[in-house]
Symmetry: C2
Subunit: 268 residues, 2 copies
């Protein structure tokens, strides 16, 4: 008989940024098998409308369900911001995202109560981080800033040059002026730019990314639902992509922090 506990954890993202979440999951839950789908044929999501993003998210979730999984992690901030409540309502399987874990981490980190969130245009426009942060602590003061060019910089591998520094200054100077002690990196690409972001924000500001908190949340759900894999072999990862573009492996392995193994292209 099929034991649900032995099924994999499904993770999807608009592209390869979600591999930073997979990395945190593999560190925390090394015995689990992971099925990853990256929609690199239609990346980015963060510049597109909420309806289009919801449509893509539904298709990605359907694909993962065909791969024998027990839980879905939406490793994309844009999808987490604009579509997660709907996906949860439609799906029987547990579905979790990166937004609430990020908001929780920020609320635990801040001492001054002044928090900033940076993300894609779609994420920032949704106001979802603000809502989540205020639901946790209504006294927080929040500054939100869309930084659309950060994704292109990360994909171009311009992480620490003059252009990256200038773009970071352009977007973050209003945030610096507002004066926060915590900055949520509300896009899976942004951790790659931590260096220049920190430089502009200054030493006193803590950067929060959702990957670790998301892995803690996944562990909690698996415990609650009695879905943890039984002790046995170490887990593995199976990667599916809707496109396998130029330089994909190089950038993907930078995100995952290890070899990607075999990558299967579907659709596209």
């Amino acid at each position: 008989m099929d034991d649900n506990r032995q099924r994999g954890i499904g993770v999807f993202d608009s592209g390869i940024g979600g591999l930073t979440v997979v990395r945190a999951l593999m560190e925390r839950l090394p015995e689990e098998n992971i099925v990853y789908f990256g929609d690199s044929a239609r990346v980015p999501y963060g510049t597109k409308s909420p309806e289009t993003v919801l449509g893509f998210a539904r298709e990605n979730l359907e694909f993962l369900k065909s791969r024998n999984i027990k839980l879905v992690v939406v490793a994309c901030n844009t999808v987490s911001a604009v579509a997660l409540p709907i996906l949860k309502a439609e799906e029987k399987m547990p579905v979790t995202g990166v937004l609430l874990p990020g908001a929780l981490a920020a609320s635990k980190t801040t001492k001054s109560g002044k928090v900033a969130v940076i993300g894609t245009t779609a994420t920032i426009h949704s106001g979802a981080y603000e809502k989540a942060l205020l639901a946790i602590n209504p006294d927080l003061e929040i500054f939100s800033q869309a930084c659309p060019l950060f994704v292109s910089l990360a994909e171009e591998g311009w992480l620490d040059n003059e252009v990256a520094r200038l773009v970071a200054r352009e977007y973050l100077e209003p945030v610096v002026k507002f004066g926060v002690d915590t900055l949520v990196l509300g896009c899976t690409h942004y951790p790659l730019l931590k260096g220049v972001i920190s430089e502009v924000m200054g030493e006193g500001v803590k950067l929060v990314d959702s990957a670790n908190e998301c892995a803690i949340e996944v562990e909690k759900i698996l415990e609650e639902k009695n879905l943890r894999k039984l002790a046995g072999d170490a887990g593995g990862i199976k990667v599916f992509m809707s496109d396998v573009p130029y330089k994909f492996r190089e950038i993907g392995e930078r995100f995952l922090g290890r070899s990607l193994g075999e990558v299967t292209k579907i659709r596209g």
Copy 2:
């Protein structure tokens, strides 16, 4: 009976950049009706693999064929570079792109015989511009440079700020060193950045974009095939998009140079 001449001209692009080509078509052939499809749900194409771009292009062409057209203009340099010969071979209707017109314009413009081409990663990797230029004139010396961040800058509306200038310098300094008198803007987004590109390249360098040459080519095909619309009402434009994202109308009208009228969202 259906008169082929009264049908529209179909134009597709990965997003809204192709509206610069529509603008040139409307100026040269004001009586023609135009059906535009922009695949904004899957934009950009220039970072994706040739197989994925070909698959998208086939779908876009099928959509336009359902709208009663007589000729297809591929207003996307990436598709023109990686998929045009295949599309032409598969399709009975005349299909034309922006690459050959751009190469022709450059070969007429250059005096020194040293020409540069800038474009997306996919366009430059294909080597299609080099092949086309050398087929026209085997004595040309060609320098090719991918400028992936230019698309994001154009979409962000950062056309004339410090970031745009620095990115332009970063990409174009090797081109300046090579020493050309003609630069082909091998991506429909790049004409928006003409100002900073010219500044970096210097006064002696002529910038060539394909839109006007493409309109001349379309006129020639219509004449040859006896497909010009009969004298009568002025033509119009019908715009279809696979996504209607935030700020779409503002950016689209900047490209088209006039009002977009009604925009219909399909798929997505």
